[in-house]
Symmetry: D2
Subunit: 346 residues, 4 copies
């Protein structure tokens, strides 16, 4: 079985494993109050060129999203997201569990736009509705598309106009930053939003994400919030150690090298499938692609390959999701293309 299921189906990059092994016998204080977390935070501040932001080591993406939202919003406030956004679509109502509505806006390309924000604000216009207070987006989006620098700037401007915080879910941020189509650097991103996270789980860590809070008002007593939301890891240094390993070398680190490679493999898949006449559910520019295949072909492919069916069958066709990860191999891609070619009779 070859996995295109997700970018978290394997363990960690060997360098991450080495770092964990090497530091294993150190004694440190718990709950992210240790030198590794401190150093990892320093490395991130340097990478993004912001000296005084807060950096918190978080266990996973959902804890990041939920803790940021619960910490930043007053009880009657709400988050605007696209319907496919992770915090709306894949978190079993974890945001609502903290008392906040996620306002889901329909979007064809996975992106939230100033127009969608305007539309949401029109619908939410008096004291009998929740008050929108944050825009939640992912870079790249859940369907692999990217916000350009111009789009992100326009979004930031709209957020300021409407008094919304702008939060960026960076579960696959490495993949965005290393996409051929990307024109938004991490330094620029950090200047255009109020908070974002640098995802580790989907980019070569065992687990862990580094949450960067640029807007100081959002960081007030944030560690209380992490604990209250059940996200404070006892051996918190494990996240610090992993982030150190991922970012060692800055822009030459494995944090950039891994997704660049995964993006190349995804492009190889996409190009190969395109050559077979396959069309796509979304214009993904990163390590996830969404080919639309005949249902019978999908069922046949599932015998050798493990991947998600992304949406229900419609007129005989099924959109699937193929994801490449840090450990994907060129041979995996070629095997898929060969089998698909056979099945499609090309």
């Amino acid at each position: 079985m070859i996995y295109f299921r997700s970018d978290y189906s394997q363990g960690a990059h060997p360098k991450v494993m080495e770092a964990l092994a090497k530091t294993n016998l150190e004694h440190t204080d718990g709950y992210c109050m240790d030198p590794h977390c401190e150093n990892a935070a320093r490395m991130i501040r340097e990478l993004i060129g912001v000296k005084d932001c807060a950096v918190h080591m978080m266990v996973g993406g959902t804890p990041c999203n939920v803790t940021v939202i619960a910490a930043s919003l007053r009880p009657y406030e709400a988050v605007i997201a696209v319907r496919s956004g992770h915090a709306y679509k894949h978190e079993t109502g974890a945001v609502e569990a903290t008392g906040h509505r996620v306002i889901a806006m329909d979007s064809t390309d996975g992106k939230l736009t100033p127009e969608l924000i305007d539309r949401a604000m029109e619908e939410y216009d008096d004291e009998h509705t929740p008050l929108p207070r944050m825009a939640y987006i992912s870079q790249p989006t859940e369907i692999g598309s990217l916000y350009s620098k111009a789009e992100m700037t326009a979004l930031r401007d709209k957020c300021r106009e409407k008094d919304l915080l702008l939060y960026v879910d960076g579960a696959r941020l490495g993949s965005a930053l290393t996409s051929d189509k990307n024109d938004l650097s991490i330094e620029e991103l950090a200047r255009l939003c109020d908070a974002f996270y640098i995802g580790g789980t989907k980019n070569g860590a065992l687990f862990g994400e580094a949450l960067v809070i640029l807007n100081k008002a959002m960081d007030d007593h944030f560690r209380f919030m992490i604990k209250r939301q059940c996200g404070l890891l006892a051996k918190g240094r494990l996240i610090g150690v992993q982030v150190e390993a991922l970012l060692e070398g800055g822009k030459d680190s494995i944090y950039f090298e891994m997704p660049a490679r995964a993006n190349r493999l995804a492009k190889r898949l996409r190009d190969g499938l395109s050559a077979l006449g396959v069309s796509f559910y979304s214009e993904s520019q990163t390590n996830q692609i969404f080919p639309v295949l005949p249902a019978a072909t999908v069922k046949e492919l599932e015998k050798d390959f493990f991947f998600y069916e992304w949406a229900p069958e419609k007129e005989g066709m099924i959109p699937i999701r193929l994801v490449t990860g840090w450990g994907s191999e060129e041979s995996d891609v070629d095997a898929f293309l060969e089998k698909a070619g056979e099945l499609l009779g090309k």
Copy 2:
């Protein structure tokens, strides 16, 4: 600096690290839907001699406590605990965050008793108060004491009488099971409570606890609850792999060996300090001890040893907590005793 700070100041037992390294390149499905989690659950069912209980791999102790409580109680229901109980004392209101009161009962030895339950039930007696529905205890307690088999049985009986669920926080369960004073086996524990967890974080894992739910009614849609409470790990197999490594060999596994050794070192500390005339804050029978020392001695010891002051200074004396872990050394203990002896002039 020598650490008696906590049993989670180091990484994982070498066998755990080996297991993680060995399985690192495997591809598996995420979210604990993998063969390692399945196997770890099977090993636990065998260990406790219960065939059809649910076992969930959890990231940490607070997520265990909070998810169990939120999943098991109706909105108006409450938990009874002792004031020193972790879910009341050390979780920043994470239980209340899910809408439930923790009723804190004063206890001198860290234990909840049938009498304390009766007292709580008397105070909470009509529809203008929350309805107690769960007793939360820890084995061992937060201050190192143990429930005997007779005590646990009496508690279970009282819980049945009052229609309370009985949940056991097993963050340091290994330490209880291997204490000289323990007469309650894990098989017996599993028959006396509705749910408990086998703690990994404080017993040689990087992180992770195995939650065992004996009462099927409490397991309904539990995975939805884990996700909703932000506790579902993407690379969930990491917990399964660690539990496999910890429990390999059953009662001869490192899960039992490590705390037995830590208990012995704690006993050596306790006996050594007793010999120096030191008295103790609690009658701990596990890997945590609570000597009460002159404030000046404490301050001096803090130069070489890292530990918690457990309570504020009172009449010149400070109770401190010394914890031995899987990686503590006999030489650490001896160094402490030597220094304490010097300082106490013995």
Copy 3:
């Protein structure tokens, strides 16, 4: 200024005021544990022909909706409603405040349909999404349309198929029951849903709604839930007394007489406006109508009449909401029609 603002702009029907005055000096126990609440519940059970349902006297509609949802759903469960539904649209996130998502489905006629439920169930299909568990509807809908007996039956069947509870917000139930177009009696309604409420606030009471719970599982410890959600009135009998006054005489009571009259006045308005060539935003069959008028006409009418603009101006036209209440007069209607006729040049 003539009010078509809402059906709650005046106080209570004189008979309700009389009943309150007459019982004012009685001493009774509080919190709805009194003979009036008991009698009112008995009258309702008789009216709907169900002997053993629970009836709770509630302060208002939002408390009804929120308490029923919070009491009936487990934490990870969600409610399906139309986007214009009161619990989604006009309650400032009060449902989410209890941790539950309201899934908002787009509907053109204000009604939830089996097809919309199917669509929601398809979107919410695994453990990474909330689990839909209740369908929330209003009879009549927020835009004045009615569920026919056939539609309600189809909805009930779909709910059973999908294991959804069916809850009916009856804020204006009287208006539905007395509409010319209605074919669904209150007895039938009570057999087709799991819970509904008989609204008083918008039908001649000072305040108060009678919540009827047919599905016993939803009534477990419900009074705890009312108190926990801040909805238990100290002088609870006030609601019982009002319900008694409203329902005295059963189907010949003012509870039916008032909305029948308001519906007639609304129809007179609708017919009059139709005759002036005005079109309507919705096919309302009750005491709310939604004419679409030129913006300038609306602004002019607002000088003499008080009503809501229902949606933003679009292509020069504004849909407004005109509501008749128990105290509306024929002369109010005629004055509006005359003025509108003048302004529209007819």
Copy 4:
């Protein structure tokens, strides 16, 4: 049956009923956006001598307490109260339902003191505990005792020192203000706390309390919070109309006259029982008294009088609560004293 059950066992003072009847046919806007609520707020500002505070008309006491707490605290923050405090003891966990712990401190006289606050702050001292942020008290307390001006000032000072908000539950404020023992005027109270409410339900209204928020930071978007917490009454003017009637005449209004009378009747009861050799559970100085009587006497009294047993029988004695209200009669008191005298053989 004669009622000493509560001060809310009857309806409203005749002047309140008159005001409701007189304004019944007025049309006004809903949700407390009407001239009566506005005027009532103006009257309160004048009464307390504070020009720019916020005044909100609330349905009841629990909605006041819960909405203020939920609106003022960040998610990880907690409230300090005495164990007998209403928000802890009699609200079915409504505060916890909003995610906040109520820290219950033991107190013998029903009062929170600077010392109790210090003790709570010591227990809640790091990021693994909730952060105390508000002191909740009642004037008078649940057991009828009063804070003196000196005590309230000391409490305010301690709150400032510890960065706590000070909130006063004034369910029976009228009773405090008119007690013989009171030395704290409403003007002074308003200067010593951050928010308080002027209770109507227990002082001659059908329902309704006027919440006064002195600390502007606590009033931010408060109406959103009222609605979200299900407390915004559609016919909100009803509360305004009642408050107008209660406060007409300022210090000479029925708001002061009624509790002065009830206090006198309670004193007559207390003195009469004292003369019979009865002792008391608390030193109440208001309209609630807590005599401790032989169990057999209590059972006998319950045949003619309706009151609460306040605590379980202990050594043959039961503390009961007798409450006088606006409608209690001297003859009620005399009947009780006579019967008690007979039973006690005096």
